[in-house]
């Protein structure tokens, strides 16, 4: 076992963390900035948790609805882990990590919670509907990218406005915006890490590497669980999951206030 991993586990067992925080304490302050790319995106945001920094942009276009849901628009998410943000990220096709993040954190969290009413995105049934594209980029990875990415995607969505659409000419004017995209719920993803027998949140990069397993839980304000994603090599018992869900609901409330 490596020196750093050993040390982190030793610290956690002694009731401490690398930077002196409590187990269930976020790095402070969590910074959320809206409209960082107001000229080119319909909605945009930047989130910093400690040294971890991510940005997101929302683009909207008009397309044909899927045949099985002719009365609904659609939502697509893509997470790009830029090589500049960590020595471990490579350029090229999306890695397993980036697919996991885009699928579980953004796509599943936001879609399955039904935060955006997809029926309202429909313009003409079976023919035309809005497509919302969420693009998230990592700027710096110092641990806990998943929570930051979940938060930034929501912040960008909250900032997003529909561009002006002319039905007669079938053209979108991206310079003018009409109404805000409405969020019915705010699904906050919280990743709980397990090191030894302890649960902790918002790990640094070293803590992330030393963890045995992690569970990302997305909850809405009424305590509804809308997405879960397990990672890491060791198994979780039922009690583990129960405790982690409790933590996620509790911490979700805290983060929801920041948005």
């Amino acid at each position: 076992m490596s020196l750093i991993k050993n040390h982190i586990i030793g610290l956690v067992n002694a009731g401490k963390r690398e930077d002196g925080r409590g187990y269930l304490e976020y790095r402070k302050p969590i910074k959320i900035e809206y409209g960082i790319s107001a000229k080119s995106a319909e909605g945009s945001a930047r989130v910093c948790i400690g040294d971890t920094e991510v940005i997101a942009g929302i683009k909207m276009e008009i397309g044909t609805p899927y045949p099985d849901t002719p009365d609904q628009g659609s939502l697509q998410a893509n997470v790009e882990l830029l090589p500049l943000s960590s020595p471990e990220f490579e350029s090229g096709p999306p890695s397993i990590e980036s697919i996991e993040l885009s699928r579980s954190v953004v796509d599943r969290g936001i879609r399955e919670s039904r935060a955006v009413d997809l029926k309202k995105l429909c313009i003409k049934e079976g023919e035309k509907s809005w497509i919302i594209l969420i693009d998230v980029y990592s700027v710096n990875d110092n641990g806990n990218l998943s929570d930051a990415i979940g938060l930034v995607a929501l912040a960008a969505l909250k900032d997003a406005k529909f561009p002006k659409y002319d039905k007669k000419t079938d053209k979108i004017d991206f310079k003018e915006h009409t109404e805000q995209v409405k969020l019915k719920k705010i699904p906050i993803p919280i990743t709980v890490f397990k090191i030894g027998s302890k649960y902790l949140i918002d790990p640094t990069i070293n803590e992330e590497k030393a963890s045995d397993s992690r569970l990302m839980i997305t909850t809405t304000e009424d305590g509804e669980i809308c997405a879960m994603q397990k990672g890491g090599n060791s198994q979780l018992s039922v009690e583990d999951v129960e405790k982690m869900v409790e933590i996620a609901i509790e911490k979700g409330k805290e983060l929801r206030k920041l948005l």
């Binding site: 490596s2 020196l3 750093i4 050993n6 040390h7 690398e18 930077d19 002196g20």
Partner: protein, 255 residues
């Protein structure tokens, strides 16, 4: 004639620092006819006749005689490849790693394995700037416990202080054992996690304030403030002893 820049000025490459033969260029500066010109961004230091530009940031460049902390990244037939945070990876040869006899075809992981962190000394820098290391010597060993942090290698002299005054003060006041690698890796071994955190904070503070005058006083005050509220009695009898042990075989922990 004379010196054109002031001590502790920030200069850019191409800036003329001094004219005339009364001065000599040291690191980060060169002579062009009469002039001494900066070759990198940094702060000027004038030491009698020597004019030197100390870089404010940048990668570590290996130098003979430096003690460094590195990570084993690969094992070859003739030794270990060590990542020391330099542009070129360093090499630790079999005969420089241990004084004991290593048989042909022996399993080298019993000495150093991939991922191990070691304290080593650079005894040679080759013409292509790759460093040759040795782990034979006092204080040179494999690290098995403690905290490892990164700082800018250019700030290492300030962390150590004049004749080690700064690092001695931190060690004494926090009762920790600290090894500073010239490549900007710092190893901290503490009895008490709280003291370790303070030591980390102090070192980060020195890194951030490295350009300031009277740093020792600032650090002393910082440490006093930090330690005041803690009320931790430093038990000198339980001082950490970490004498060099022979490298153990067969995966035994060198604790």
């Amino acid at each position: 004639m004379g010196i054109l820049a002031k001590e502790r000025d920030i200069v850019v490459p191409g800036e003329i620092l001094a004219t005339g033969m009364d001065f000599l260029p040291a690191g980060g500066a060169y002579r062009d006819k009469e002039d001494i010109i900066a070759s990198q961004v940094g702060m000027i230091q004038i030491d009698n006749r020597l004019v030197r530009v100390v870089p404010l940031s940048g990668r570590y460049a290996s130098k003979r005689g430096d003690t460094i902390i590195g990570k084993v990244t690969d094992i070859t037939f003739s030794g270990w490849i060590i990542d020391i945070g330099c542009a070129k990876d360093a090499m630790l040869g079999l005969k420089d790693a241990t004084s004991e006899f290593i048989e042909r075809g022996a399993d080298l992981t019993q000495y150093f394995n991939i991922g191990d962190i070691i304290v080593a000394k650079i005894f040679n820098v080759t013409r292509v700037k790759s460093a040759d290391l040795t782990t034979k010597g006092p204080g040179l060993m494999k690290l098995t416990r403690g905290r490892l942090i990164d700082i800018q290698s250019t700030k290492v002299p300030r962390v150590i202080g004049k004749q080690g005054s700064m690092i001695m003060m931190i060690k004494d006041m926090t009762n920790t054992r600290i090894t500073v690698g010239q490549n900007g890796k710092v190893h901290i071994l503490a009895q008490d996690p709280e003291m370790e955190l303070i030591a980390v904070e102090v070192i980060k503070m020195i890194e951030a304030n490295a350009h300031k005058h009277g740093l020792t006083e600032i650090v002393k005050k910082f440490l006093d403030d930090k330690l005041k509220g803690k009320n931790i009695s430093i038990d000198k009898t339980k001082a950490i002893v970490l004498e060099k042990k022979p490298i153990l075989k067969n995966g035994e922990e060198n604790v």
